[in-house]
């Protein structure tokens, strides 16, 4: 047992035992190789299930961007014996709710159902068919392509999506994280049924699947249920890891004209991996810089002192490979330069001096004191199970969370921020009213 683990245990026992009595995460692997994470809880007669695959937008090529998204989406529109109409009606008949999700790393489905045998049985048999036997009906595919394209065209009028996309491109260049998960109008137009069939075959495999289960079933039922979900999936290995990101050495500023009454700022660079030794130093430090809402310096200086923005924030988005660090805000056109300069000055000050001891204490108090709120519902617990499973985080990740937050020092934060957030490498995208050339 390492000193750190020992400390975590002591901390957990001494500080507030009631809060820690909580999560007993059970983990196993199905015979087909799917990893399962389960918390048994019988308070409410309901069950939440999620299944995730390493089959997100980062698995797309530039020529076929949007394929991962469309594959996941059309999977739910007809599978095995069930038409798309059957799927929706049979879910509704038992009051179950299914939804899909996709980001650069993950693609999956979540299902919320009553836990009675008949209800959950019907809902899960639909999910099983969707995973293992999607029809990819050609006419439905064409219809959904048109809907995705309509969405892309509408989004292309909005400053927030224009900026997010240009920012993503600036940060990730040729890396697949640069791709828009919804694809491009031209790439989506070119996708065929064969593309979807192949993408499904190559990615929706048991060895690439993480099942999270939360709620009113027994361990034995959970084992059977997970095995059944994995049973029909094609054999084969999980895909290789997503390639590492090589951040640019030199940043740049790009201004995109737009008619909106507000300018939108996107500023940052690739910053943090999900499994990263600096995770807690950056997470706690960012609370002080721009993650802590009204506790943060960015909100204090830009919103509270100057009234320049309704929303101003910074965040690290941990991903399989380095996800973005971003500072963002929206401000009226004629205040663009002042707001951007203020944000830059706050970042420079933070990199120079780091948080004060008082600010660090405030961050710790909030993050540790608020820990019970992170796991106070089945829905939130399911989300943690899915993340812990997908990114192969330690099973005691939640148990050690508070001790790790508590252990972060000012020096840790300064060192980690200076290593990751290099001002000369920052990418800046401004969409809106600052039409003159950038300062340099």
């Amino acid at each position: 047992m390492s000193a750190k683990t020992l400390f975590a245990l002591l901390f957990a026992l001494l500080v507030s035992p009631a809060v820690w009595a909580g999560l007993n995460i059970q983990h196993w692997t199905t015979p087909q190789g799917a990893r399962v994470y389960f918390v048994e809880n019988h308070d409410l007669p309901m069950l939440d299930v999620s299944v995730d695959f390493s089959a997100g937008g980062a698995r797309d090529s530039r020529q076929k961007s949007g394929l991962a998204n469309l594959t996941r989406h059309v999977m739910g529109l007809g599978a095995g014996d069930y038409s798309e109409r059957d799927i929706a009606e049979k879910l509704a008949d038992v009051g179950a709710v299914m939804s899909g999700r996709l980001d650069a790393d993950r693609a999956g489905f979540s299902l919320r159902t009553l836990s009675g045998k008949a209800e959950r049985g019907q809902a899960l048999s639909l999910l099983g068919a969707i995973l293992s036997a999607p029809r990819f009906d050609a006419a439905i595919l064409e219809r959904e392509k048109a809907r995705v394209i309509a969405g892309l065209e509408e989004a292309a009028t909005k400053p927030e999506t224009i900026g997010a996309k240009a920012f993503q491109t600036a940060l990730y260049g040729d890396h697949p994280y640069a791709l828009d998960e919804s694809g491009e109008v031209d790439s989506v137009r070119g996708l065929s049924r064969d593309d979807l069939v192949a993408f499904h075959r190559d990615h929706y495999r048991a060895k690439n699947m993480v099942v999270a289960l939360m709620g009113d079933i027994s361990r034995q039922e959970a084992e059977q249920l997970a095995a059944e979900l994995a049973a029909g999936l094609p054999p084969g290995e999980a895909p290789p890891p997503i390639p590492p990101v090589s951040p640019a050495d030199q940043g740049m500023e790009r201004v995109i004209p737009h008619h909106a009454t507000q300018s939108h700022l996107f500023m940052g660079l690739p910053g943090l991996k999900r499994e990263d030794p600096d995770y807690f130093a950056l997470y706690v430090g960012n609370y002080v810089l721009g993650g802590g809402g009204f506790d943060s310096r960015l909100t204090e200086s830009i919103r509270q002192k100057k009234g320049l923005a309704y929303s101003v924030y910074s965040y690290f988005m941990p991903m399989e490979q380095m996800g973005p660090f971003q500072i963002g805000l929206q401000t009226r056109r004629d205040a663009t330069r002042e707001a951007v300069d203020t944000a830059r000055a706050e970042l420079a000050r933070f990199l120079e001096e780091g948080p004060s001891e008082a600010e660090l204490a405030q961050a710790r108090n909030n993050l540790i004191g608020g820990f019970p709120l992170r796991i106070d519902s089945n829905k939130k617990i399911l989300e943690y199970l899915a993340v812990i499973g997908f990114y192969r985080l330690p099973l005691d990740w939640l148990d050690t969370y508070s001790a790790k937050v508590d252990a972060v020092t000012r020096d840790d934060i300064l060192r980690a921020f200076r290593a990751r957030v290099r001002p000369e490498a920052m990418m800046t995208v401004i969409v809106g009213g600052q039409l003159e050339s950038p300062a340099k």
Binding site: M46, G95, I149
Partner: protein
């Protein structure tokens, strides 16, 4: 519109293992306190609801309810500006507030052993707000930024703003909650003070606490902190009843966008008497038949089969202080006209009026109601929110159980009857978003179109 499902709620067809208990008391100063115990997690939610929303505003001062909500974080005699949020944050809490047409509510979620702090701070700002002019001068700019973000730069938001302003001819629901920009520009700290003095009194407020708490202890704290605040007479509320609509209305919004949108809104009754009313329940079921799931009528017909629209939906919310609406909307698919899609929406309504709904459809919607009743118990916040909304709308929250029984009792004939009675042209307002080209053109975006998905 999916919110509708969230609103449909609960009934006890099978025994629920966690049967929460509710305790209620009215303090001598008129403040209502409602405590719901739920011991699933060591957490408590506190919400203070004021029966004052944008519907209580006057011309020239629209948006003041929401501006005051912002100012409630700007300091009291004892707790300086910004300190409220800092103290809640230091206790590990999350907090915020929201303003609607009907109410303004302030909430904190904390570890159960920190609840007292929230009650103490809420009581303080109910009575002792400072409203400093220099704080107001900054905050009104923040609110204008909020309006720019939510409304000015969103063609779709402008459409719904115009829709509401057209549906209601006199009722203050015609004003946007955030206020008209011109009213925000001319607002003063005295407007905010006037609002605070008019409505922020214990006899116009309800405290709702939910979570792993001891109700007797919560009541004791409520008496200790809110009890000493004297009641003041609540200002007279003029009825401002919306006159009978005397013909169909139409409004067009031209704004930069790609896709048009067509929205139909019919004036409809709200839930006034949970025991005696049946029409609002039938309207809720009707909304479920049209848009309760992906194969419900509108999506199945307009999007999936006829491919006239990329999206189509419907909704009805009968829990309100003022008049209710039944809404249906759709986004025409590429190459389809607004007129075609509007006609298709109306054709689905006409089919309902003519042929009614099948028992299968009806049972499907009811199964969703039943499940929703269980699912919503997963959220402590939502449980408190529902009690607050009902109470502030003048409804007895205890009647929620009646409501589920009434929803289950709705018949196919009743669904048909409310469609025939309320979804008629004389009650209808049609709003159309007429998309305009981007003023700056599409320089580089033409080659490199911008997408919807992004890493966040």
């Amino acid at each position: 519109m999916k919110r509708l499902l969230a609103l449909l709620g609960l009934t006890a067809a099978f025994a629920l293992p966690v049967r929460a208990e509710i305790v209620e008391q009215t303090l001598p100063n008129g403040m209502r306190v409602i405590v719901k115990t739920d011991r699933r997690a060591p957490v408590a939610v506190s919400q203070v609801w004021y029966r004052a929303g944008s519907m209580d505003e006057s011309y020239g001062a629209t948006g003041v309810a929401h501006v005051l909500e912002h100012m409630m974080f700007k300091g009291t005699k004892e707790v300086p500006a910004g300190e409220f949020s800092k103290r809640i944050a230091a206790a590990g809490g999350r907090e915020n507030a929201f303003t609607s047409r009907d109410h303004t509510a302030y909430f904190q979620t904390l570890r159960k052993d920190r609840l007292e702090l929230a009650l103490k701070l809420e009581a303080d700002r109910m009575a002792n707000l400072v409203l400093a002019p220099e704080e107001f001068a900054k905050e009104i700019n923040v609110v204008m930024e909020e309006r720019r973000m939510r409304t000015e730069d969103s063609a779709q938001a402008k459409l719904y703003e115009a829709l509401m302003a057209t549906v209601f001819q006199t009722h203050p629901y015609r004003h946007p909650v955030i206020g008209w920009m011109d009213d925000l520009k001319s607002m003063t700290v005295d407007d905010a003070r006037h609002w605070y003095e008019r409505w922020y009194t214990p006899n116009n407020a309800t405290l709702v606490v939910a979570g792993d708490v001891d109700p007797a202890q919560v009541m004791a704290w409520a008496k200790q902190y809110f009890g000493p605040i004297p009641a003041r007479p609540v200002a007279e509320r003029k009825p401002q009843r919306e006159p009978e609509q005397i013909g169909m209305k139409q409004v067009t919004v031209k704004a930069p966008a790609k896709q048009p949108v067509v929205a139909l809104a019919w004036q409809a009754p709200r839930l006034a008497d949970p025991q005696a009313d049946w029409e609002p329940y039938a309207l809720e079921i009707l909304a479920g038949v049209l848009d309760g799931h992906a194969s419900a009528r509108l999506n199945q017909s307009l999007v999936r089969e006829k491919r006239l629209a990329t999206d189509a939906g419907a909704g009805y919310d009968g829990i309100s202080r003022g008049p209710a609406m039944f809404v249906a909307d759709a986004t025409p698919a590429e190459g389809q006209s607004v007129a075609t899609v509007e006609a298709a929406l109306k054709a689905e309504i006409a089919r309902l009026v003519k042929d009614g709904v099948s028992e299968t459809e009806l049972n499907r919607v009811k199964a969703q109601v039943l499940a929703g009743q269980v699912f919503q118990q997963d959220s402590l916040f939502y449980q408190a929110m529902q009690i607050g909304e009902w109470t502030t709308a003048g409804l007895d929250y205890k009647a929620r159980d009646t409501r589920y029984a009434k929803l289950k009792a709705v018949t196919a004939d009743q669904v048909k009857a409310v469609a025939a009675k309320y979804l008629v042209d004389d009650r209808l307002t049609v709003a159309v978003l007429d998309p305009q080209p981007m003023p700056e053109g599409k320089p580089e975006m033409a080659r490199n179109p911008m997408g919807a998905g992004h890493v966040r």
